[in-house]
């Protein structure tokens, strides 16, 4: 995809998706039964205060005006005040999102690295013991919900073997907050101990989070790579006597990885939503507890804020994935479509 096709095709679509998402979320949040202001403030607050808060949140205006106000504020980064924590939703998200992002990013790395590695190994040695192991792993990964992995890992690695901590993000003095991601923050100040400690806390949650997508990616990599291995051009390279290694990295890798990389976007979405489940088990102070509290207390602004931030992350990741795929696949790069 060159810049032109990107601007004419991909970008407008992303904007439409975000707009559609915002309408969807907005309409969901506004059909709430009962009075959200009353629910949030409780019974003891006087009618005047309720009226004032209602005005503050534009809840007294017609519905389409409410929507435009809401969009305008969101574009400015003002998501309104959370009725639950009584703080700006944007502040809350700034506080909790980095923890979730750190978890999702490391899982994203695990899922793509190990997924592709296992898939490649299985395709190279088809029907060997390693292929069978990969098959079992990918099956287990697909059929096991993330929270089940989390529970089994906590029990086994946390309590039986006692090699990994089972809750929280860090158990030494945390580094000063810069990005909000503990591992990066501790590296920034050169605090190796904090880095190591926070990394240990990250391992179990991120592996249990990545299992499902890793399984899927290793399956896809295996099948596309073993298809490509049969192709004439690879056979031709072999008969020319080009080394296995060179065939692998120069000629086989690129076309075989395209299908796996194109689904990375969707896999990342799965990671983000499953993060909710994993965070609960590991007591991870991320967006999940905030989001679930918001949901249970019918906190409109917080719900819409959380969903929009996650939707935005998803759109951004998908655009990045599109660029990588276009870079790898000349058919898309030149013509703008798959061909």
């Amino acid at each position: 995809m060159n810049l032109k096709t990107f601007i004419t095709h991909r970008l407008p679509f992303s904007i439409i998706v975000l707009l559609g998402l915002s309408i969807l979320i907005f309409s969901i949040a506004r059909v709430i039964p009962g009075d959200p202001v009353r629910v949030a403030l409780g019974d003891r607050v006087s009618e005047e205060v309720v009226e004032r808060v209602r005005k503050e949140m534009f809840l007294d205006r017609p519905i389409h005006i409410q929507y435009f106000m809401w969009i305008r504020n969101m574009a400015k980064g003002e998501l309104g005040r959370s009725l639950f924590t009584r703080r700006e939703v944007s502040e809350d998200i700034k506080e909790f999102f980095p923890a979730t992002l750190e978890l999702a990013l490391l899982s994203g790395f695990f899922m793509s690295f190990f997924g592709i590695l296992l898939g490649t190994l299985a395709a190279q040695r088809k029907n060997s013991w390693i292929d069978n192991i990969v098959r079992v792993i990918s099956y287990l990964g697909v059929v096991t919900p993330a929270f089940v992995f989390a529970i089994l890992f906590v029990l086994f690695f946390g309590y039986v073997l006692e090699i990994f901590p089972t809750a929280g993000r860090i158990s030494v003095l945390p580094p000063p907050r810069v990005t909000g991601m503990m591992t990066i923050d501790s590296l920034l100040v050169g605090n190796i101990r904090a880095f190591w400690n926070s990394l240990q806390h990250l391992i179990l949650p991120s592996i249990s989070l990545s299992m499902a997508s890793m399984a899927q990616i290793s399956r896809i990599t295996r099948s596309s790579m073993s298809d490509n291995l049969q192709k004439d051009y690879i056979q031709a390279h072999k008969t020319y006597g080009i080394s296995q290694r060179k065939i692998m990295f120069k000629y086989l890798m690129k076309p075989s990885l395209i299908p796996s990389i194109s689904i990375l976007g969707i896999s990342f979405a799965a990671l983000i939503s499953n993060a909710f489940l994993v965070e609960m088990i590991f007591n991870w102070p991320g967006l999940s507890r905030y989001g679930i509290n918001a949901i249970l207390s019918k906190d409109l602004n917080a719900i819409t804020g959380v969903v929009m931030v996650l939707g935005l992350t998803f759109v951004v990741v998908n655009i990045l994935v599109d660029f990588v795929v276009a870079y790898l696949d000349p058919r898309i790069r030149i013509r703008g479509d798959k061909g």
Partner: protein
């Protein structure tokens, strides 16, 4: 040409015989793969257990709000094969009753999401490149663009969290996958000669879409439904796990996992057995679905 009654019956019998023959051949291929047979076995066992739960469980009363503190938190034993929970209920009985809710979740969600998704996919696929196609597929894209669990959570948030609303929420996020699947198949089938022939002969759109194109999607739909049973069960139990699905004392597997998670590691059986039960069901549907995909030669799912 008019056929008398006898000939009509003959044709009917022939068609029937052909169908039986086809089924036999598929079954033969299917039964050659022992993994598919295991899958079928698991699915049948789970369905039978769910149907006959009140008669096969050792303690059928324990499925609801039942309290028996003297036998609370007992480790697995011969009396309670999976142990007991915090108020002394038999976990095995609750797991078997939990299968009911998992299966119900899958059946209701797929029953609600499948038909509209398929019909929209057929319409969009038949009108490929036209306005209808763009509108339907872009709406589907928007629904797909929301991380699945998040949308379901947002919807259950608005409605009161209970098992019925969880089903509604999962349905709302599930239909576009059927639309996409059928769109892909329909838009390529509509260029086949038999569809063009029907068009030339003046067949109505309705006839072409439902009588010519739809039957060719059946094996894909069937395979996808089987595989999706497992995935819907995962999503459903995830929703219950975070407290947005089935509410206590309903014996839902996800709720049971969440309730027991706080008592790890000492009372591990409270959370591990329901968790493994979820894996068991989903595993069965997945093996069965994979077997069907191989036998019916569906590549798209």
């Amino acid at each position: 040409m008019r056929l008398d009654k006898k000939e009509k019956q003959k044709i009917k019998a022939l068609k029937w015989a052909k169908r039986v023959d086809k089924f036999r051949r598929i079954w033969y291929k299917f039964s050659k793969n022992y993994l598919s047979i295991i899958g079928l076995g698991i699915v049948l066992v789970v369905i039978l257990l769910a149907i006959f739960a009140p008669w096969v469980t050792p303690y059928p009363k324990h499925s609801g709000a039942f309290i028996n503190f003297p036998s609370a938190m007992q480790a697995p034993s011969l009396q309670h094969l999976m142990g007991t929970d915090t108020v002394g209920r038999d976990i095995l009985s609750r797991v078997i009753f939990g299968f009911r809710f998992s299966l119900m979740m899958g059946i209701v969600v797929l029953g609600l999401a499948g038909p509209p998704g398929i019909i929209l996919g057929l319409i969009a696929g038949y009108h490929k490149g036209k306005m209808v196609d763009t509108i339907i597929m872009r709406i589907a894209d928007i629904f797909i663009a929301v991380p699945p669990l998040i949308l379901a959570m947002a919807i259950t948030a608005v409605l009161t969290p209970n098992i019925f609303n969880a089903m509604v929420a999962v349905t709302l996020m599930w239909w576009p996958w059927y639309t996409r699947l059928i769109y892909g198949i329909a838009s390529s089938i509509k260029n086949e000669y038999f569809v063009q022939a029907a068009e030339v002969m003046g067949a109505s759109k309705f006839h072409i879409i439902f009588k010519e194109i739809l039957p060719n999607c059946f094996s894909a739909i069937f395979t996808k439904l089987t595989l999706d049973m497992g995935f819907v069960i995962i999503i459903g139990s995830s929703l219950s796990f975070v407290g947005l699905g089935a509410q206590p004392p309903t014996p839902d597997l996800g709720t049971m996992v969440a309730d027991g998670a706080g008592y790890m590691p000492d009372q591990w059986w409270m959370t591990v057995f329901p968790a493994l039960a979820i894996v068991f069901v989903v595993f069965g549907f997945n093996l069965l679905g994979d077997g069907l995909r191989d036998v019916l030669a569906v590549e798209e799912v």
